[in-house]
Structures are given as structure tokens and as C-alpha cells.
Symmetry: C2
Subunit: 352 residues, 2 copies
């Protein structure tokens, strides 16, 4: 077994704290990764606080992982000791269902094995990237291109692929008008990526003080979404809208802004159902859809695309000891625009 140390939640309400545990031995197809950086995703908070149900404690969150390969199994071909690699939201899937065969492991019919709080074949729960190391099957390990800043690349593994995948799937191209709702971890990547695809990008926000940042990231226009007259100007004009907001909000107001037959794609996972008026659907045959991260092959494609186009995340680097404060700030949308944990900060915990 491999010793690991990380930060874990021990119940739905207490702060995360230090937790020592073991990882499985490095199997034939496994890679042992020394974790350098791990992004802080809103999903980490939802899960550790059991807001989606099913939390098993101690629960080590973290699925935006960047590190160095420390050891490889005998059958590993893709990586060597020292390779710079990443791990995203998934560490396994059945590999043979129709969705796995289509490189859509996120929709595995058996259920993908998520990077944390997911049952592994050996009966243990997976433990995520708020820790010193992780053991992952090479198939679920991503190659990090050389020119990416490692800390700023970490959130690409979730926020990056989650926004890249729908832009690709709905074939966003130069000249399309794309709306992005919310400028958080997902939203700021959606703005950068949509802009890089050649789209005209409009950011919708309730925090108008984010306007300057959004413009700098590539938005052509920022709309204060609480102002009906501002919203009305954009009626029937969008080719695609990405909704990154997980809190309850009026989706109907945005459906009205789509052109006929176009799609609003929900990325936020709301614990409560969305309230959708019939008229939002039948008027102009508009579509409401959604997207969930992306497959492993597409995640690699996204990393390569970001490296080529110099796209990475705007981050605030924090020591792991600041994680509980960081959670509170995420909940207040007070982060520009993703916290990333510098895992060196765990060294001091090991000395204790």
C-alpha cells in the first residue's frame, strides 16, 4: 500500500482537516502520481457537504489534479517516471458499453468511477486530489503539454473540459453569438474558449463589478442580467448559451434570448429541478440541454488545444490550510476565478 496524506471532510458540516490514508499498490496498468496542484471545484463543496447525497466519510475531494509520475506499472506504455500528467473527474469506467466505446466515459452505463467518493473495484471509496499522491489507471491519466503553467492548467481538467466539450459538440464557429451565464470557474473558461472559437461572446452576470475582467478575458459585451431592459435587447439573437449557474435561477429568461431552434446548455448541477415554462420550449422550437465534463480523449484534445492557443485558468494559489476559508469564498463568488491548492503546503503537515 502507498501512504498518502491529504485533507478530508469527516461529516457534512465540519471543516476539512488533515487525514492520513493508504492508496492501492501500483498495478500493472497504473501510474503513481506525485500531486503538485489541485483545483477547487464547486462540486467538491457540494459533495463533501453531502448536498447531492451519498457522501461517504472521510471524503478527500479534488478532481483537477496536476502532478509528476513517480512510478509506473509494468504494462504502462503512455507515461514514464517524471512525465507531467493530469487527472480529471474520472478514474475508471466499464470500458465496453456503448458510451465507453464512443469515448463518452462520463456516460458509462455502469457508471463511471469518479475521482473521489466513488466505489472502486476493491471496495474502497476513491479519494481525490487534495492529497500528496494518487494511483490511477493510465487510461484515465492525461498528458499535460509542455508550455502550460502547471498551477493554471489544473482547473482545465474539470472547468476546462466541461466548457470545451459543449462548444465542440454544438459546433460553435466563427461568427456565432454565444452567451455565457455566470463568471465563475466554469464561466471564465467558457468566455475564453468561446472567444478562441471565433464567437461573439456575451457574458451575463449579476455581479456587474466583474465586467472589466470579463472583457479582458474575451467577452465582447457584458449584460447585467437583473436588468430586464438589458436582457430584452438580446431577444432571439443567440446561437448558443452556456449556463454555468448551479443555484436556482430563471432559465426561461435566457431561453427567450436564443434564436429559433438553438440550444441553451446547462452545466450547473442544481439540487432542485429547473422550472421550465411550456412557452420557453415551444416558441421557436428552442432546445434545453446539458453537458457533463467530457470523455478522456476529448479532455486530451482540450489540453492540447489550450496549450496551442495559450489558454489557461485565472487562479488564486492557496496553501491547503486555507481550504475551508476558500470554500466560504467560493460560495460568495469571491474568487478570481479558481482556487488552486499548492500541494507543497502539505509538507509542513507531514513534519508534524
Amino acid at each position: 500500500m502507498i501512504d498518502s496524506i491529504g485533507y478530508a471532510g469527516f461529516d457534512a458540516t465540519s471543516p476539512l482537516k488533515v487525514f492520513e490514508f493508504s492508496r492501492r499498490e501500483v498495478g500493472d496498468f497504473d501510474v503513481l502520481i506525485e500531486i503538485k496542484y489541485c483545483g477547487v471545484c464547486h462540486s467538491d463543496i457540494h459533495t463533501v457537504r453531502n448536498e447531492w447525497g451519498g457522501a461517504k466519510y472521510p471524503l478527500v475531494p479534488g478532481h483537477e489534479i496536476i502532478g509528476l509520475v513517480q512510478k509506473v506499472g509494468s504494462q504502462v506504455t503512455k507515461y514514464q517516471v517524471g512525465s507531467v500528467v493530469g487527472v480529471g473527474c474520472m478514474v475508471g469506467s466499464c470500458g465496453h458499453c456503448s458510451n465507453c466505446s464512443d469515448n463518452l466515459e462520463q456516460f458509462c452505463h455502469q457508471g463511471a468511477t469518479y475521482t473521489y467518493n466513488s466505489l472502486e473495484a476493491d471496495g474502497n471509496m476513491t479519494k481525490g486530489g487534495y492529497s500528496t499522491n494518487i494511483v490511477v489507471h493510465e487510461k484515465f491519466v492525461l498528458k499535460i503539454p509542455e508550455n502550460l503553467d502547471l498551477a493554471a492548467a489544473a482547473p482545465l481538467l474539470c472547468a476546462g473540459i466541461t466548457t470545451y466539450s459543449p462548444l465542440k459538440h454544438w459546433k460553435i464557429k466563427a461568427g456565432d453569438k454565444v452567451g455565457v451565464i455566470g463568471l465563475g470557474g466554469l464561466g471564465h473558461m467558457a468566455v475564453k474558449l468561446a472567444r478562441s472559437f471565433g464567437a461573439t461572446v456575451v457574458l451575463f452576470t449579476t455581479s456587474i463589478q466583474k465586467k472589466a475582467d470579463a472583457l479582458k478575458m474575451g467577452a465582447h459585451e457584458v449584460v447585467f442580467s437583473k436588468e430586464p431592459s438589458e436582457m430584452k435587447k438580446h431577444r432571439d439573437s443567440f446561437d448558443f448559451i452556456i449556463d454555468t449557474v448551479s443555484a436556482p435561477h430563471d432559465v426561461n429568461a435566457y431561453m427567450a434570448l436564443l434564436k429559433n431552434e438553438k440550444t441553451l446548455c446547462m452545466l450547473g448541477v442544481s439540487p432542485k429541478p429547473h422550472q421550465i415554462a411550456s412557452s420557453s420550449l415551444f416558441w421557436g422550437r428552442k432546445n434545453l440541454s446539458g453537458s457533463l465534463i467530457g470523455g478522456i480523449a476529448e479532455t486530451q484534445e482540450m489540453l492540447d488545444y489550450c496549450a496551442k492557443n495559450n489558454i489557461s485558468c485565472d487562479i488564486e494559489l492557496i496553501p491547503i490550510q486555507a481550504i475551508n476559508e476558500a470554500y466560504e469564498r467560493v460560495l460568495k463568488s469571491d474568487v478570481k476565478y479558481r482556487f488552486v491548492i499548492d500541494m507543497q503546503s502539505l509538507d509542513s503537515e507531514m513534519i508534524k
Copy 2:
């Protein structure tokens, strides 16, 4: 002015009763139609009972109209006295917005003029087909092909086009698996039309006693939707689902039955918003959409298609004096499968 007599609602709760009123003179582009038959649509009930708001009384419902041309305006070119014609849900639109230009008058940006309870240019409210005659601009008058039974063709003007349009729009073709939720006026037409398009048709119903009828109409299979194990068998298998139910129901249960990236199309207009779980949208990137009747050109196409393929509605012919009882039966889904009013029954009212 042209004298007319019909049945009207006088408030949201009282039974419909006889009402004498005037129609506008026949303008240069108008057609005066002697109404022979008029279908009874669930929308008539919603509107006359003010369940959608905005009802102006006296309110003469009816938008599935078949009749004979009695008089034509000086500029009318499409019809002559004696032509067999139909009128559906719309009698006007702006004619120059982008949707009107695309033959999508139902989405006119100025708002289409509906056949009843809609404000006309002259300041009067339109009055529908539960009446002896109607005056309509020739552009909104449909030609009824010769071989259609006139009474059974009446509901094509709403139920027919409302189900034909989405099947065409989503390009349903031979071999597709199509679900139809509900076997009412819309549902029974959706079954017949989807079958005629070559699809494998599965009807979902809460009234299992409708099974034999559904099979006779062309359904390959009937699923009792209250039985979870029956539903589960169809997971991830549909290319398209048409939802004809306007009462609140669990749309999420049906979203789960779609293949990846396929569409559930809502036709029912629910006064309450649909409750849509995030997971229904992001899992498999499925689409929730809707459709609203169809444009005038497409309505003519549908009538010609139905004539060519011997498709019409299953109806119960009633005298107008039975309309209030018929409404109660519609609300109990106790109609096979559309009431059509024989307008000859109004003659006795005129003698009074």
C-alpha cells in the same frame, strides 16, 4: 356586416350558450366560409375557462374548421364559391418579420392573430368556428383535398399539424423509434403520422384500456407509464418522443428513455412550469424542446400528405347543443379521439 350565430362562453365558469354576432364584411382578399364542421380542441376549454389568462367574453371557440366558400373578395385568387376549405389556429400575422418570411407564422414576432380570442386590426376580438360562418384572409385559408372525409379532416387543422410539424422538423424516418405520450386528440394523430413515416411507434398511456385502439392506429407497442419496470425496459432507446400531455407529469421519466442527444418534444401547454432535473439534461446531452402548431404552408403540406396516405382523425360527431357535456368528457379523456361539431345542428337554433 355578416350575421353569424354560434356558441360562446360568457365567463370562465358558465356553460357555453347560443350567441348572435356579426362578422366583418368580406374584404378584397377575404373568403366567407359557411362552416360545416368544427373540431373541439382542449385549447378551446383552456381558453374559454380563462386557464391561460386573457379571455375576453363573449368568446366563441373553435379552430379546426371545415366549410364551403360562400363568397370571395375581389382580389381572391386561390378559392372560388363552392371550394372546400379549412381554417386552423391562425387567421393572420404581420407577414414581414423573419418568422413570417420563413413560413413560420405561428412564431410571428408581432404575434399571430389566432382564430379566436385574438385582437384583430379592426379592434374586435376574433371569433372561432363554433358558428355558422367565418371571414378569413385567403392566405390563412387551406384547401381541403377531395378524398378527405370532411368531418374527420377538421381536427387535422390543429391536432394534425401540431403532430405533423415536429415529426417533419426532427426528420423522423423509417426505422426511428418514436414515443408518443398520451392517446388523446394529439396523441392519436401522432401515432398515425409517426407510423406513416415508417417509425417504430411506442405509445405511453396511463389508461391501459386504450391499448387495443392504439395498436389499431399503428402503435407497435403500448407501455403502461405508471409501471416503472415497463418504463425501464425502454431506457436510452428512443430517437424522438412526442409529449402530448398538458397536465403536470414527470417529464424526467421520459427523458431517461431517449438515446443520447435525442429530443423530447413538448406539445401540451401546461399552465404550470415543468420540473426538469439537471441530470435529465446533462446525461447523454439530451434535448427538451417543443413545437407549436405549424406554418400555413406546412399545414397545406400536411393536408395533402394525409389525403395521399389516407390519414384522418377518429372522431365522435356531436351536435353543438352537446358541447358542454363534450367538454366534461374531454377533461376525463373520455373521447375517441376528437369531438367534431356538426354545424347543421345550429339550424334549429336559428329557427328559434
